[in-house]
């Protein structure tokens, strides 16, 4: 029986080796070839969040416009660094023409990106930065600028003086730290009369933890006049806490990112401003930059996809509205 097992195994191996030997000739010519559709792998951090769906939509738009094929594939578990490495490796094995990657970790994804470049597969980084300089281009939101916009909105509405909270998101999260730094620097430089009651408290990863932090802060400083929160979950958690303590609308509140609940908060006057990114443009420009590079054009090393401030006044402008509540149904089926 054991010999049977061995025979089968040997059979499989022979089969595998034989077939690999046959096909080797035909597939040795890697890299872009004339007359063939370019294949671009787009690897997000996860696949279920709205943000990534917008990036997907943008990537598809670019693919349709430029006549290339986009393969969309995230790590099997959201936010799993090890699995994202696996996905990058598998696309290197497949021999795609280019990889557009939103790295889950600025360090852990360095080696797979090096591997890709060694196999002559260029990589464009989107959304979050990567250490080193192996990649072709970095296409992302200027997060620091987002923090600056938020600080100016808050400062203007408070007339340059008041007591405010800077709620931080999480230690080690590069993009939100940049937003917080942008906010902090601008407050110190342009609005010296704003008093930061709190500036080193972390909301944590979920809405629930942000909610608890905001509740505790409000009960300790009930006379707060302004609040800034640096991402979707901390903004929503803070919004809930303000609503529960009947301070919503009385406190000037500026948040980051968008969701249906936050848009409603903006409409109800509970939120005075939301800094929104443009993920669709990020997906679009990520693929477009890659294709330009593959077609031999020179591309910028850093590309800013822009941030805008949405307020109750401009939230119904078509351009802002498409950022606040993107309609992706036409693009992703």
């Amino acid at each position: 029986m054991k010999s049977l097992a061995l025979k089968t195994l040997a059979g499989c191996l022979c089969f595998a080796l034989a077939s690999s030997a046959c096909v080797k000739k035909s597939s040795d010519a890697a890299g872009p070839r004339e007359g063939r559709t370019l294949q671009i792998a787009v690897i997000p951090k996860g696949t279920t969040h709205e943000f990534w769906k917008s990036i997907h939509a943008g990537a598809i738009e670019a693919a349709r416009e430029l006549g290339v094929e986009v393969i969309w594939k995230g790590p099997q578990k959201e936010d799993d660094r090890a699995q994202q490495i696996t996905v990058v490796e598998d696309f290197i094995s497949r021999g795609v023409d280019g990889i557009v990657l939103a790295p889950l970790d600025d360090r852990a994804l360095m080696r797979p990106v090096q591997d890709a470049v060694r196999e002559r597969i260029p990589v464009v980084i989107i959304d979050s930065s990567l250490q080193g300089s192996d990649f072709t281009s970095y296409v992302a939101t200027d997060n620091y600028k987002g923090g600056v916009l938020a600080a100016r909105r808050l400062g203007q509405l408070l007339g340059g003086r008041g007591r405010i909270f800077l709620i931080r998101y999480q230690e080690g999260s590069a993009s939100t730290v940049q937003r917080e730094t942008g906010f902090y620097d601008t407050v110190k430089k342009e609005f010296p009369d704003l008093v930061l009651l709190v500036q080193d408290q972390y909301a944590g990863a979920t809405t629930e933890t942000a909610y608890q932090l905001a509740e505790n802060l409000i009960s300790r400083f009930p006379d707060v006049e302004g609040v800034f929160a640096p991402n979707e979950s901390s903004t929503f958690g803070t919004l809930r806490a303000l609503q529960e303590s009947r301070l919503a609308g009385k406190v000037v509140f500026v948040g980051f990112d968008s969701s249906p609940k936050l848009v409603q908060g903006l409409r109800d006057g509970h939120i005075q401003g939301l800094v929104v990114q443009n993920p669709r443009k990020m997906g679009y420009l990520g693929v477009k930059t890659m294709v330009a590079h593959l077609r031999g054009e020179t591309v910028e090393k850093v590309i800013d996809t822009g941030v805008v401030l949405a307020t109750a006044d401009n939230m119904d402008d078509p351009a802002i509205k498409s950022l606040l509540s993107p309609d992706l149904s036409k693009i992703i089926d």
């Binding site: 089969f15 595998a16 690999s20 096909v23 594939k73 099997q76 660094r81 094995s93 080696r111 230690e171």
Partner: protein, 323 residues
């Protein structure tokens, strides 16, 4: 256990089952024209082998535990804890060799604790290791200060390099380590007194005890060895990520258990083989690799692997009805 005639055919099927599965998976992707040429390349086998190392090491230990009739739900948390300890030690200025040993030992200690609790407190392994799953994960986050640990690059990061430094190695050093350990463990499980005791305990623990086997001692050893494997797996995880990440490998214990079960291990104990387990690991890795190369969405992959687990366990039950 006995090799009786009537069970012969069935047994052959049991042994062959996983191989047939592996052949089917490879054939499936080998026949799809889109990835055919790329899927069967040596470079791809190399990366699948490297991707399998972490689960394979965990599964080597898990095979012993499952054969002995136990279960270890803390395996993945143990891997995360060991990888964090390794990164921490390197960051603290320890020599890479010391850090690697510390990582492996950490895993062994967690395993020893599991074994001691199971035998001394007479709790079922499911509960003990469920608790340890939380404890090890929490400890990992605590030591890492709730974030990943960036450690400087050392030779410890070469274990899992896709292109090994002395290129005559062909495969990443981690893959060779797995192959050597798998052969060693297969011999231990089949041909040593200890291995036979593990089977005996898994088949019928009280009978084994009445036969004079020191069941507690064997079980503590089994959990400790499995812990050491998780520790080594954690070192490999660190080597691969180049950072110590306390949130890594969440849910990986289920992949590890699935590999053992697909490879013919029985959750009732008394059955399983190292060869089968390794084939189980390869089946899942090839599936994941093929699905990614095809660009199929993750849910398809999850459904396929889920279905394979159910089929494998169905076979397991049919086998028991047959006996």
């Amino acid at each position: 256990m006995s090799r009786q005639r009537p069970a012969g055919l069935q047994k052959a099927l049991n042994v062959l089952g996983p191989f047939i599965g592996l052949a089917l998976v490879i054939a499936l992707f080998a026949l799809i024209p889109e990835v055919q040429g790329r899927f069967l390349r040596f470079a791809n086998f190399k990366s699948v082998a490297t991707q399998s190392v972490i689960v394979a090491l965990g599964a080597l230990g898990m095979t012993f535990i499952i054969v002995s009739g136990g279960i270890d739900l803390s395996a993945a948390s143990n891997i995360a804890l060991s990888s964090v300890i390794t990164a921490y030690a390197i960051n603290a200025g320890a020599a890479p060799l010391v850090a690697v040993l510390l990582g492996v030992l950490t895993g062994g200690l967690v395993g020893l604790a599991n074994g001691a609790l199971v035998t001394r407190l007479r709790l079922i392994p499911f509960i003990v290791t469920l608790g340890m799953m939380g404890i090890a994960r929490g400890a990992a986050k605590w030591i890492a200060g709730n974030q990943k640990i960036d450690a400087p690059m050392t030779w410890a990061n070469e274990f899992m390099a896709r292109s090994p430094r002395p290129s005559w190695l062909l495969l990443a050093p981690g893959v060779w380590i797995v192959i050597l350990l798998a052969v060693a463990m297969a011999v231990v499980l089949r041909y040593t007194v200890f291995g036979r005791h593990v089977f005996a305990i898994g088949s019928n623990e009280s009978a084994a005890r009445l036969c004079g086997i020191r069941t507690s001692r064997v079980k503590i050893l089994v959990y400790s060895v499995a812990g050491l494997f998780c520790g080594l797996s954690g070192v490999m995880e660190f080597s691969r990520l180049t950072v110590g990440d306390p949130t890594v490998a969440v849910g990986l214990e289920l992949d590890i258990i699935a590999a053992v079960v697909i490879g013919g291990g029985s959750l009732n104990g008394g059955e399983g083989s190292i060869l089968g387990t390794m084939v189980g690991v390869m089946i899942m890795s090839f599936l994941r690799n093929g699905c990614t190369m095809m660009g199929w969405p993750n849910y398809i992959q999850e459904i396929i692997i889920g279905a394979i687990i159910v089929i494998a366990v169905t076979l397991d039950r049919l086998r028991h009805r047959g006996e």
